[in-house]
Symmetry: C2
Subunit: 252 residues, 2 copies
């Protein structure tokens, strides 16, 4: 079953075990999940609002975003997902999309059917718990985005976002100071609730301050210390209490 052609789900398992404790049997069940590789083009709705989906979408490489829309047609990206994330694990328990999902750049994914996921989750409570916990980390990020967009000025917003992605991209919660970020300035605007024009000016300001350079889809952080300070960034919400702890297994 460790399909020869299909890439492995080791990355998915790694993500889960970074936050939850799984036994060998449970881990194997994850790795053995049937999956189907595919490519997703940029800027085309992958899941539409109101559409029913029957599988999840694990990201091997690339960036996907959840989009909200206003009646005037302006868009707001409410969540970002990168390599190693499942873009819509929540759909296992709520299979009707409440917001659209798009790839921001060409993305390669593995589709895993809800049916298979439900089966493992039903058989192994600890797996269900791991899924649930993973979703709750996403929710914590979402909370931060509300704060970011609601109460911070442009420079702070962008700094915060760039710090967050540095940590999420990095291994082991250590920030990666140089990372690929294949999105446009218009996308950054949709993430931060700003105008593309203002994003452009603000990035320039951050560059002139010697904090970060965003160019050619690569983020290069020059001064992590000052950038986190300006962006009011504290990685706590990303890893707080995600140390796997056996005592927290639903069944003990």
């Amino acid at each position: 079953m460790t399909g020869s052609g299909t890439p492995s789900l080791q990355l998915f398992l790694d993500r889960l075990t970074a936050r939850s404790v799984l036994t060998d049997e449970e881990s194997q069940a994850i790795l053995n999940l049937p999956r189907r590789a595919s490519q997703v083009d940029a800027n085309r709705d992958f899941v539409r609002i109101g559409e029913r989906v029957d599988h999840c979408c694990f990201i091997v490489e690339g960036v996907m975003g959840r989009f909200g829309q206003t009646s005037q047609g302006t868009r707001q990206i409410t969540a970002l997902h990168i390599s190693g994330d499942v873009a819509d694990l929540h759909s296992v328990v709520r299979p009707v999309g409440t917001s659209a999902i798009q790839a921001l750049s060409t993305t390669s994914v593995l589709r895993i059917s809800h049916e298979a996921l439900r089966k493992v989750a039903g058989r192994f409570p600890a797996v269900a718990e791991a899924f649930w916990r993973d979703c709750m980390v996403d929710a914590a990020v979402l909370s931060q985005w509300v704060v970011n967009v609601g109460r911070r000025d442009a420079k702070t917003r962008l700094s915060h976002l760039l710090c967050e992605m540095a940590v999420r991209t990095g291994d082991d919660r250590r920030p990666q100071l140089r990372y690929p970020f294949p999105v446009t300035q218009a996308h950054l605007a949709d993430m931060t609730g700003l105008t593309p024009v203002h994003v452009n000016r603000t990035l320039k300001a951050l560059r002139d301050d010697g904090l970060v350079i965003v160019r050619d889809r690569v983020v290069q952080i020059l001064d992590w210390k000052r950038l986190t300070k300006l962006g009011e960034f504290d990685a706590g919400y990303l890893d707080a209490d995600t140390t796997p702890d056996a005592r927290r297994r639903l069944l003990d």
Copy 2:
């Protein structure tokens, strides 16, 4: 066990079964959860950031909010919980608070230990699923808040919020056009990412337009149709796909 002194968890069960299918045995297990009633004063941190909690907080009456903070001390409310909600069900799988929780008015709650909740969730996969699903509805609301705060102007933001609360307060997803909402204008500002002053002016504008009156902690919606239109409100995200569906039980 239907403790004579302690109020019942029927409201909690109702909430769960509005979105998930539970058997009689599972329902009984919920109703039998041990609990402790208590009062929470307004404007005092109930859970602090970084604090470890070992119980959840079911709201019998009142309003609680999750708070984020910026370094300048301004606050942003990232989520609201009212009667019938569990303010922090997520803490079962992530017991360390990543944001503060406060009551906005005096609130009466039932505390339920994580241990007890984990036990039912571990024993009954369908209960774990119901908890998980409930958390995902909260996350969908959070998504909407990002859009609200990121892309809408003051009038639209407030209208959207007031519509959302009308539906959440109402029975059976039907909006309640007149409902108590015991929060101050400063709280509304913290929910919408505006200034108290501007909230005041905007509420006046909505009142002058004949849309809503917010007075004495009561919201009175005069024109639901126009208010939802102005607020770009579509209740879909609150109830889409929350019709209980037996085929979705983790184990079938």
